[in-house]
């Protein structure tokens, strides 16, 4: 059974037409399922876990990057139903703006997302964890006053202003050919670009970041104070992806 999690902002009238088209397409493809609206529930985690316990096999986030972030934590973080988690699939139907995560997974448009759901091309991808929060795409922090500890072996201290991006999944919004990011290698890719456009690149399995001035931002959505421990969980999420994804 498919569970479709609709974000709150889709209640606006401007999304009615798109949602109708998506729902008709899903029906045509025989992909009907249960719709859950985020605005109507208080504890998304309990609701999703209950659906999984009742036989749901695929959880689909209908919305944008924020929707994805709200949903994935509920899909993978469960001790009681650990057995079920291994078989649960996750996908996205991107609607509106801020859909870089869906684009990276090769899911570019609403109706095309329905076809991708039917095709069921599955990849196990890594997921980043910071304290108790998850990120699929990247964690970002300004480099001023940041200190990164890499794998407990050495530290990086940027001396110039710039930006630190810790990638799990390459976003199509970051269309930089220099980026070598792989979400199925069990590592996070740290890119530091300073004001002179000098580039630093290292890979790491775990990081610790400290910055007294700026927070760490996950997937452009969640702000977390440092010090923060950043880890990668390998092959944690079973995702339905499209052919035009940003990785093999």
């Amino acid at each position: 059974m498919n569970i479709y999690i609709y974000d709150d902002y889709l209640n606006k009238s401007k999304y009615n037409r798109i949602l109708n088209r998506v729902e008709i397409r899903l029906t045509d493809l025989g992909l009907n399922g249960k719709i859950i609206r985020l605005g109507a529930i208080k504890n998304i985690r309990d609701v999703i876990q209950n659906e999984i316990k009742n036989g749901a096999k695929t959880i689909v986030a209908v919305g944008n990057n924020q929707t994805v972030n709200k949903v994935i934590g509920s899909v993978i973080d469960n001790e009681l139903y650990g057995f079920f988690q291994k078989n649960i699939l996750f996908s996205i139907i991107p609607i509106g703006e801020d859909n870089s995560i869906a684009n990276s997974l090769g899911i570019k448009k609403e109706e095309e997302a329905c076809n991708i759901l039917l095709a069921r091309r599955v990849k196990k991808i890594d997921i980043g964890i910071v304290n108790n929060y998850y990120f699929l795409n990247k964690a970002t922090i300004p480099s001023q006053e940041s200190i990164l500890e890499i794998d407990g072996e050495y530290t990086l201290e940027p001396q110039e202003k710039g930006i630190i991006d810790i990638f799990n999944l390459k976003s199509s919004a970051n269309d930089d050919k220099l980026l070598k990011v792989n979400p199925i290698d069990g590592k996070l890719d740290v890119y530091i670009k300073d004001k002179n456009k000098d580039l630093t690149f290292v890979s790491a399995s775990k990081l610790k970041i400290t910055n007294s001035k700026f927070p760490l931002v996950l997937d452009d959505i969640i702000e977390i104070k440092t010090p923060a421990d950043i880890n990668v969980v390998s092959g944690k999420l079973n995702v339905i992806v499209g052919k035009d994804r940003s990785f093999e």
Binding site: E153, Y154, T155, L156, E157, P158, Q159, E160, G162, K180, I192, D194, N196, D198, L199, T200, F201, V202, S203
Partner: protein
Amino acid sequence: MFNKDNKPEKFKDAETIIGASIKVKGNFHGQGNIVIEGQLEGSLKTEANLFVGEKAKIVANIEADDAIINGEIRGSLKIHQYLALGPNAKIIGDISYSEISIEKGAIINGQVIYVSNNNKVTRKISEENTSENEIKNE
């Protein structure tokens, strides 16, 4: 062999790049090619190749397969294959190498020791096999 930044082509897809504005402290161990343009204090070891840029300042013992050095290193340099010192290279420490080229302007303040690859192979065989190989090594 070199692109316009005077960096060898083979370092284009380096596993690790440390930019000019970064300071690294600690033990840096890798398996792929490494490019250092910034500062490093500690130790540096890779099973592949190392490029040290003009602006780099390293205070560390270094071990690599091939190396192209055009910056400053204070520490020992153990290169298993080919070592190239550029015109801005400044090495304060001992160097061991198998092949070497030194450009005009490079500064070395330490011992420079040749370690033949052939000797290494012969020594390895003699460790694995019998006394016959030990005589050959002599």
